[in-house]
Amino acid sequence: MRRTSQTARLIGAILGLIACATLAAGCSDLGAGGLEGPTQTAEASGGKASGDLAISNWPAYIDKETIPNFEQKTGISVDYTEDVNDNNEFFSKLQPTLAERDSAGRSIFVVTDWMAKKMHDLGYLQNFDKNAIPEVNKNMIPTLQHPSFDPERQFSAPWQAGMTGLVVNTAEAPDVTSINDLFEDPDLAGKVTVLSEMRDSIPLIMKADGIENPEDASEEDWLAAIDKLSGAIESGQIVGITGNSYINDMARGDVVAAIGWSGDAIQLQADNPDIKFVMPDEGCIIWADNMVIPVGAPNPDAAYAWMNYIYDPKNQAPIAAYNNYTTPVTGVKEIFEKSDPALAKSELIFPSEEYQKNCSTQPDPPRLQTANIEKAFEALRTGG
């Protein structure tokens, strides 16, 4: 009996303390929203860049030689972290510090178009000092120079571009050519995944359902495509909504067809030569991952030195050869023609207009309904 009353008193005391802390939390700011004031420009000092440069990029995006070569040439010491696995998760991890004008030590992030725009809108990015990046100005391929989210490339420079389409194990599923096959082919049941990047997966599903330009799609169109995906998950036809990890599922043979990224197929061929990137009948989604300079970046000079280095065709060539994504730098093809003619013909690194004829630029959902659509998509991931 005595114990019970002691326990009750203890619980009461803890609840009281929690209530005090709650009141404190009620007065505190949750660190929401963006920064006030105009976007600043990351001024170059004009001197020679030096010191440390911390970069956040996606996994499997760089060859082994580029960083040591850059360090040797410039004397800058690079801390390169592959900690971007998903635009949303990366944003969530950095957002609280960015809201304090602190970039967590990084001077460059690599994020996809829509996330670059979102970060810029919130004031988390700095504009480039265009005089500091002559190589980028000179060597960027024309098709990437004026994207709608950053028409003058004021705050973003593509790291690589790419296509979202079908990644298929052609030995197990030779007939997959359309996004609809993923939904309808009973032989594929339980062996299909799609990407957790909503702006990749959902627009492809919409295209397969006859919406030619997903950029003009309405909220209903997005929700209808999400609904269709939901049905396929419930029936067990589609078994996963994944980030980069679908690569492992395919390498192990658990997944034979997926909505995936163009360069991944080439990396998978090392394990299984039957795995190929297949351009869907209804076209692909085109995107770019961009280098951006966050607010509070400690070393913009070094960031500019890195960008100039990457945009020199002879330095870009090994990166493109490694990851097989669309290179944003002109002159790489000429280098491959001499060194590796097969790569020079790759439709993934140098896609022709004909190859991409049905493709669309990665769209954003209608602005006011974005939160609603993202919520509906996220509910799929956790099986609502």
């Binding site: 939390a25 949750l30 991931r381």
Partner: protein
């Protein structure tokens, strides 16, 4: 008088570091989280503190499936752990002889590798072309695959939390005074009765501690469901993770965490009441 006061103060003095630790790293964060659970808004606009209790009803109505699933999976895994752990702990405590320390080491050995890597290894083990699944298929146990089914997630939970069941049960069995059992046998009890009337009751504190140590973290686990399950096996931990990191709806995530905690506390209180708090506190040993 002064010496007496000082002596009386000693227990409080000894409690101080622990209490301070709990206050700073448990009570304060809990309070903040409770506060966050009453905010309203989104990251793109702003969050405002409005005593928004709707977060709680939203959390419950929108995610009741995942709540139910979490408690179901954790319950089944705890039961399986108990069925596996008790005989094992019994064998180690009473029958292992000189191999006792080796066996105990083997129970703990998996902890030398991180939990993530071990769960990841299960993903490979349970993949479609693996030896394990091939064998199961030829025995007719499964049609196609094992990954992304409830069975895979429960198996992962069972595997990962098994040591937390074995160790407390072993500890309570190992302390049993064997003369009690001998005395029982001298009074003509069968060995089954001796187990039922002597060994089992004395080991109950271990069983209860083990089930709590397994069940509570298993309910909140999301690693097993992430690696071994698909969208239809998502547990409440996965929802909280995605609300925090993807949808960035911090208030709902905080409300979900609190609801989960409240349900766990309620279940544990009922369980202890039912099983008897004396056996948890081990008071019978004083008899």
């Amino acid at each position: 008088m002064r010496a007496f006061a000082q002596r009386k103060g000693i227990p409080y003095f000894l409690l101080l570091p622990g209490l301070l630790w709990l206050f700073v790293f448990f009570v304060v964060p809990m309070g903040f989280m409770f506060g966050i659970s009453l905010y309203e808004g989104s990251l793109d606009t702003t969050f405002e503190f409005t005593w928004n209790w709707d977060n709680y009803s939203d959390a419950l109505t929108n995610y009741d499936t995942q709540f139910f699933r979490s408690f179901l999976y954790a319950g089944v895994a705890t039961l399986l752990c108990l069925l596996l752990a008790y005989p094992l702990a019994y064998a180690i405590a009473f029958k292992a002889g000189k191999y006792r320390s080796v066996l105990l080491f083997l129970v703990v050995a998996p902890f030398f590798t991180t939990y993530l890597i071990r769960t990841y290894a299960w993903q490979t083990m349970l993949s479609n072309d693996s030896f394990v699944v091939d064998t199961m298929r030829s025995l007719g146990l499964v049609d196609t695959g094992v990954l992304k089914t409830p069975g895979a997630v429960i198996a992962g939970l069972t595997y990962n939390f098994l040591p937390f069941m074995i160790l407390p049960i072993y500890a309570s069995l190992e302390q049993i005074d064997k003369r009690l059992i001998e005395a029982g046998r001298d009074l003509y009890s069968s060995s089954r009765t001796a187990f039922r009337k002597i060994t089992l009751p004395i080991s109950m504190p271990g069983v209860i501690a083990g089930t709590l140590l397994t069940f509570i973290p298993a309910v909140g686990d999301y690693v097993n469901a992430t690696f071994l399950g698909g969208p239809n096996q998502a547990m409440i931990g996965n929802v909280i993770q995605s609300q925090y990191l993807v949808t960035k709806d911090y208030p709902i995530a905080a409300a979900l965490s609190f609801v989960m905690m409240a349900v766990i506390v309620a279940l544990v209180l009922i369980y202890i009441k039912f099983a008897g708090s004396e056996s948890l506190m081990g008071e019978e040993r004083g008899l």
